[in-house]
Amino acid sequence: MTEIAAESMRATHDWSSQAARRRVKRRYAADRRLQFYGIAAIGTAMALLAILFTSLIHAGIAAFTTTKVELAIFLDPTQIDREKPAEANYRKLVRGAFKAYFPDVTGRSQERELYKILSNGADYIVRDYVVANTDKIGQTVKLLVPVSDPFDQLYKRIIPRQIDALSNDRIILFEALKQQGVLSVVDGSGVAKTTVYIDPSKVPLEGGLEAADYDAMVKEGLRSLFLNEYSRSYEEIISDAAAGNLKALVASDPSLVGKTIDVELPLAANYDNLLLAGQATMRNPRFSSDDEFAWFDSLEERGLIANPFTWELFFNADSRFPELAGLMGALSGSFLALLVCFLLSFPIGIATAVYLEEFAPKNRITDIIEVNINNLAAVPSVVFGLLGLALFLNTFGMPRSAPLVGGMVLALMTLPTIIVATRAALKAVPPSIREAALGVGASKQQVTMHHVLPLAMPGILTGTIIGLAQALGETAPLLLIGMNAFIPSVENIGLTQPAMALPTQIFSWADSPERGFVSRTSAAILVLLGFLILMNLIAVYLRSKLERKW
């Protein structure tokens, strides 16, 4: 019976029929589709990685150089005391030297604008130079001092001199009015045609036509152009002169009062430019006058502007001025925190792993410990920050913002990584090693300490470096214990001194409003990524060179 059924099915199935071929085709198409999805997914991931790195490099590369201006400063011995060189008025010296380039600049307000080209830190740079080279007092020295952030950005072509004066929705509004045919050019300037009702109620009894509220009439007229979409801010499209024009018109013909008339209201300057020239631009508000551009251009023409590699990015302390801000505080804070983290997590992690892997009896307590370690690895980092804040800072009264506390919190977070890596490395050591050592009479601890642990060390070190690399990038717990202190000098570096770490520095720079901090932030990120890549390369090297395959 079943044989017959199978027989008949086999007989009815024609593999070469149209339908069967179509089905096979469809099945292979589905297969190719799945492959395509896979390639598309990988392509998307790779593209996102590429975009991430390109945008960071693109934004960050500029911060590795600083625009500087060469000053020829006469270190006047009458002004600088050789005994106390730090106390002279360097601001005056620097400004005097800079002013000498522009003999035709006069007047206080012009001078003030001129000095805006120089960075606020120029005085200190000259002071530090003089303190280090007291023998140069009395000579004229040529020094490169940084220019202020807007000019740095300008020289690097990051910000433009002119920006669009009108926002996008204003331009859309303008285009809509143009479509309606409201706008036209009369006598070389743009006007908006509209109707205005010369409202008798707006002409006061006292004062008459002179005191009438023409401004309100113009606005009423404008309202008719936009109907229900009207917003007060649209009034800026009409020049302030419109009311005056209307007044003059009514004064010349008082019979207009009470009538609705067609008028041509002059456009405001930006809209006028937009109508006549097709674009409306204004000076970038970061610069206070066009003279500044001229002065800067003349410096550039005279070859006084340079854009050298900026070691200050690495060796300066933090600053409110982007052109002066450096990473020294962050680098030292991160180094100290990682040092504490390493000193705590490395021995504790190894001891825990060795105990659990080699000595611990299998019982409930060791089970609990293992589950605990697995769970700790998954606890969100911000919770470790809460622990640090509540326990280390509040209960134990440890100093806020200190690398010591940061390192302790990071150590707790790094422990699971090191423990897991160490256990894997210990597991990889073959039992024959242990048995041989036991066979020649070593105690169990001697077996572990003298034979197993040294053989597992490359694996342990690899895991430790990867754990430290993770700790280097951790931000949230450090924020909670306050390791984002603003430290404008690098003199007080210590385990219990307030400090900054590299990732928290990135966070606080990213929050700063100055444009220059965008590239500083990206540059700091590139430095951080550089360290991470270096650490991972060391880990890969250790793994490939030292780890033995059994």
């Binding site: 896979g38 997914a41 991931a45 825990t352 990038g473 990524l529």
Partner: protein, 461 residues
Amino acid sequence: MLSYLLLALLVLTIAAYYAGLAKARSFAAATGPHKSHHSLAGYHGAFVAAWAGIPSFLLVVLWLLFQGPVVDQLLIASLPVERIQNLDAGQLNLLVSEIKSVAKGNIFGEPDEVVLAAAERYNSWNAIASWAMVASVLSLTVVALFVARSMLAPRFRARNHVESITTILMITCSLIAILTTVGIVTSLLYETMRFFSMVSPLEFFFGLNWEPQIAMRDDQVTAGGAFGAIPVYIGTLLIALIAMMVATPIGLYSAIYLTEYASDRLRAVVKPLLEILAGIPTVVYGFFAVLTVAPAMREFGELLGFSIAPNSALAAGGVMGIMLIPFISSLSDDALNAVPQSLRDGSYGLGATKGETITRVLLPAALPGIMGGILLAVSRAIGETMIVVMAAGIIAALTLNPFEPVTTVTVQIVTLLIGDTEFDNPKTLAAFALGLVLFIATLVLNVIALTIVRRYREQYD
């Protein structure tokens, strides 16, 4: 002072080692090598060093932990009663910190006499405590050194003693993992209880209004602050959902392609590149979201004619999704690889195409592992902090619109605690309540995920 003390302790410990070593060598010289003494000379040294070093070091740690609180208590007890009887806890804290800052030499304005006198007392007590620590630690070290050294004898089982000390040390170290968990749970619970004594749990769990500002003046409108955390949870889930919608398809399809279709060469290139995504610190992703993704989205939205907020849930969630891609792809990779080859062979034997084998055989078989991976990624997403702190909003809006800014649990924790550490108002304590919720949520997700993964892996082993 402390570093010198620790240095002295280190020197003494090394000296103790050599003292033990020398004594043990003198036995060996007296009795001849390998004759009658039990342990190698090094173990005798290590024994003395351990006794000299470890108890003293523990004493230093304990002293440092408790000196501050004890001196604070003494300080408060020494203040004149009429000065402090009308102060609440916060004002008392303020007074104590004023005294401390005066004691450090930071005098602003004209502190009153009580404060000046207290600061003087504070300084002198601290000095006494420090010197007492040095004296007691050093004397403990020296006494322990000599006692331990006097115990050495040819038949003394130094190795066994040292080994049991090592074992105790190792057990102590492995207890640190438990202590950390206990520390997290107790500190979160304690602060949360204090929070719930000020704000009703009902409001916190079911309230729809989250405005944790506290009053600067008594007559301010927002005086009490509102602590209904539902909008915060909704925002967290919305961002996590967006992140998973980005990460799951990309991660899963990448894993399918890499395990089943890709050549070894391609796999060798792509897998490490995906791992790079996992190694990038989250603060970098946050900045990427602010610098590139959010402006790009806003322009795209403008192009289509609707507005996307600069700190929209979409930007934060999308970038978080990028971060989670390698997470999902590597866990799915593991799950797919764990499916035995025999299942593949059986499917091919029946005439299935590769695609059919994957969708009808491998994916169902690997589903528990993949689900576990997705749950782990969700737990990552709700615990992720820096991306949302930088790219998501602060205002808690009750919305599911991905183009609007929303806030998350982690954002609130960070914003509530940055720069403000007075622990007496519901605003800072609310951060701990949120932290507890976050801790429990991630813990539950992880336990479920690991259970699923473990239970179904056994089927094939």
